[in-house]
Subunit: 255 residues, 4 copies
C-alpha cells in the first residue's frame, strides 16, 4: 500500500542566511515586532493577521488561561511531584485534560453556530430546531448556562463587547444571539451565554476553524499550568492532595 | 505519615460576582486589556509586568515557536493521525519532546549565567573556569554555537538588541557577554551566542527563574504544534512519514 | 454544586500487616503465584480468573504487542531522543497513538458483535443490516480485511483456534462468524477476519467490556514500546528519522 | 549535518506469509504458546527467556501493579473524566507519574548494586562507602525502609524467596544483602529492604539493564491504571476529587 501523495509543508524553511516562517523573515520581520498572539495567528493561518484579530484572540486566550484548581491543574501538580525533572511531562499531563468534557462545550457551540449559519431555511428556524433537540435530549445547550454566574456570565458579555469594539462582530456572533433568543424562549427563562459560547463565536469571527479550536484552549491552558507548576515548586501541594484524596475515598469491599 | 503543612494557592479565586486572577478582576482588569503574554507573566509572577518585560517575553516566545519539521512536530503529526479526535493528546505528545536534549541547552546556559553572577571571585574568573570545564569535557558550551548560522546566529543578535532597546539589559546579559569572550578565547575562534543562549539571558533579565524556563519553551511550542496539526489536518503527512521511516530503517536479524 | 455521592474504591487497601488487592493478600496469595496477565484480570474484573481466561488474554496481549515501526514506535523513539531521562514520557507519547484510528477497529468490531448479540430479530438479520451499512458508507468493516495477509490473516485463525481449544468459544465468536458470512456474501468475495476482529471476539468471551478494550491494547503496546526504547538506546535511530522525514517533506510556499 | 550511521531494527519484520518477532514466528511460535511476560522478555532481550526469568518478572510485575490511590491513579481518573473518549490519554497521564520520585528508588538501588558489584576493592568496602554517603547526605538509602511495614516489608522477603526458589539468586541479590548489612550497621538499627530494593535486585538477576527498569514499572502500572479507569467508569470519583481538592486548598492572597 504505497502512499502516492507527496506531502509538503508551508510553515517554515531556512537556509544559511535566514529563517522563514509563513513567508516572513523570522529575524527581520517577526522577533521583537509581533506579539506571541500575532505569531500564533500567523503560524496557524499563514497570514499576518489584522490587529483586531490579534486583540480578539488575546481576549479569548486571557479568558481561558486560568480557572483555579481544575482537574488539569491537579493532574499537573501531581505529575510534577512524581517527576520534577520532567516539567514538560507535567504540563502534558494537565493538557490531556483539555478534552471533550470541558472543551467540548466550546466545540459543540461552534458546530451549532456553523449549522445555524449554513441552514438554507434561515437562522431562526434552524436555531429553534437545534435548541429543541437539546431540550428533548435533556442535555445542556453547548455554550449556555453557568452554575455560579447568574443571570449572566460577565466574561461572555465582556468578550462580545470587545468584538463589537474591534468591529469584528459578524455572522457567528449574530448566530449566537439568534440561538440565545431561542434558548430563553424554549426553556422559558433566561439562560446566559457563557464564556465558552462567546469564545466559540469570537474565534469563528477571526476564522479559526471549529476543528482546531481545542488547540487554542490547549495553548492558553499550557500557560495557566506553567503558573501552577511554578507555585507548586514554591508551595508544594501534591503530597497533601494525595493524602486528602486517599482519605476521602474509602475502601469498600466488593460484593 | 501525616502532611502537616497546609498548602494554599495564591493564583485564582472567584465568587458570584467576580473572578480574581493574581488579585486582578478577570473581567474588569484583564480580558481585552492584556495580551496573552502579559497574562502569562501575571499568572507566573503574580504581578502586572512592565511593558518592557512583556515585549522581551514576546520576543522569546516568537523565537522558540517554530523550527520546521522537528522531532516534536513529527510526534504530534503521527499522534494526530492515530487519534484525530483527541487533539490535546497530539499536542501533549509533541510537548513531551521539549526535554533535556533541546531545552537543556537553554537551562544549562541559564544555570551557567547564575553561576557566573554569584561567583565571589568575579565574573571573568568564573566564566573562564566554566568554559574550561566544557572544553575538558568535550561537550559544546550551552547556549553557544550553531551548525548552520555562521559566524553568528541572527536570532541571538536580534534578541540582545531588543533587550538593549527595551532597557532591560542587565546582569544576565553582561554575564553572557563575559562567557562569550571566554568562549572565543579558550576555543581559539569565534563561536556564536545562539538563540537559546540569548533566550536564557533575556528570560533571566525579566526574572523568569531558571527552574521554570522549560515552561516558557513548552508554551511557545504548544502554539507551534497547533499550527502543524492544522496543516496536518489539511495536508496529511503522517501515513507518508510512517511509510518513509519504515522503509528507511531496514530489518537486521540479530546475532 | 455539591457532589452528593460518596465514591468508594474496591481495588486495594492495606494496613501494617498486609496489602489486599481485590480481596487477595498480595504477599500470601499473589506475588509468585499469579502471572502478570492473571493479576491484570484480577485487577480489572475483581475476581481470580479461570485459567482459560488467562490464556485467552495472554494470546491477545501477545498478538497486539509488536507491529514493527508504527507511528507509536516512531513517536516513542523521537521523544526518547528528546528526553532520555524521562523514559515514562517516551512510552506515554507512543501510547497516545493507541487511538481511534488503529484501536477503533477493535472497538468498532466489539460494538458490532454486541449489536448482533442483542438484536431481538436474530443475529443473521442484524448482521446483514450492519454489513449493508458499512457497504453503503464505503468504509471497511471493522475487524475485517488485511492489506497484506490474503486470503486469511493467520493471527485471527490462530486466536479463534485457541478460543476453541480453551473452551471459551461462545456467543461473541458465534456473532463474529455470522458477521463473516454476511461480509463474504454482501461484498461478493472472501474478506478475512483480521487480528483486531478476532481479538474483539475473544475479549468479549472473557467478559472484557467493549468500553475498556482499548486499555488492553494500551497495556500490550506499553511492553512493545519499552522494547523499542531499549533498542533505540542501544542503536539510535531518532536523529536519522528526523533527518529522513525533514528531507522527505519539501517546503512549498503557500499560495 | 548528515547522519552517517544507518540505523537498523532487529525487533520485527513481516511478509505475506508470516510475522517474525525477534526471530520467532508470531503465529507458529508465540500466540497461544507464550504468556504476556514471556513475550515482553522476548521483545526486550531478543531471546526466549528461561522459565525462571519469566516467573521472576511476573513476580515483580505483580508487586508493582497496584498501590491504591496514588498520584498516578488520581491523575488518570481526572483525565478520564475530562476526556472519556480518549482512554489512552488517561493511562498516559498516569504513566507520566512513573518518574524519578517513585521509581527513582528502584533505579537508584539498581545503580548502587552495580556499583557494589563492579568495585575492585570488594563488595563490603564499597557497600560501606555507599551507605556512608547516604548517611552523610541525610537522604534515605534507595531500596531500604518503609513507613508502614516494620520491621520488614513482606513483599521484599517474598520476592527474595522466589528468586531463591527459582535458582536465580546470584550476584545482585548478594550485593543487596551486603548493602543491607551495612545499612543496619551504619544506621544502628534494622532498616528493611523494601519492595523496590528487592525488585531492583531481581530484575538485575534476570539481566534487565538498570537503564530500562523504569520501563518495567511503566508496563506494570499501565495495567493497574486500566483497572482504576474501569472502576472510575463504573463508580465515578473525579468530580468528587476535584471538589475535595479545591476545598482543601484555600486561597491565600499573595503578599
Amino acid at each position: 500500500m504505497r502512499i502516492r501523495t507527496q506531502p509538503t509543508t508551508s510553515i517554515a524553511t531556512s537556509d544559511e542566511r535566514r529563517i522563514l516562517v509563513r513567508g516572513q523573515d523570522l529575524v527581520q520581520d517577526l522577533i521583537g515586532q509581533v506579539s506571541f498572539t500575532e505569531m500564533f495567528l500567523l503560524q496557524l493561518t499563514g497570514k499576518r493577521p489584522p490587529k483586531a484579530h490579534v486583540r480578539i484572540l488575546d481576549a479569548v486566550l486571557t479568558t481561558l488561561m486560568e480557572h483555579g484548581i481544575t482537574p488539569s491543574v491537579i493532574a499537573s501538580r501531581l505529575i510534577y511531584h512524581s517527576a520534577p525533572d520532567a516539567l514538560q511531562a507535567s504540563v502534558a499531563a494537565g493538557l490531556l485534560g483539555v478534552g471533550s468534557t470541558f472543551i467540548g462545550t466550546m466545540e459543540g457551540c461552534a458546530a451549532d453556530l456553523e449549522e445555524v449559519l449554513s441552514a438554507p431555511e434561515g437562522m431562526g428556524e434552524r436555531a429553534y430546531a437545534i435548541v429543541q433537540r437539546y431540550r428533548n435530549s435533556g442535555k445542556p445547550v453547548h455554550g449556555f448556562g453557568h452554575p455560579l454566574h447568574k443571570p449572566d456570565d460577565p466574561r461572555a458579555a465582556c468578550l462580545l463587547a470587545i468584538a463589537e469594539n474591534e468591529g469584528v462582530e459578524g455572522r457567528h456572533i449574530a448566530a449566537l444571539r439568534v440561538l440565545a433568543t431561542q434558548v430563553d424562549e424554549i426553556y422559558g427563562h433566561h439562560i446566559t451565554i457563557n464564556a465558552t459560547g462567546a469564545s466559540a463565536a469570537l474565534l469563528g469571527e477571526i476564522n479559526i476553524p471549529q476543528k482546531i479550536m481545542r488547540g487554542v484552549a490547549v495553548v492558553s491552558r499550557s500557560a495557566g499550568l506553567v503558573g501552577h507548576i511554578w507555585e507548586e515548586s514554591q508551595n508544594p501541594s501534591a503530597a497533601f492532595i494525595w493524602q486528602t484524596v486517599d482519605e476521602a475515598i474509602p475502601f469498600k469491599a466488593q460484593d
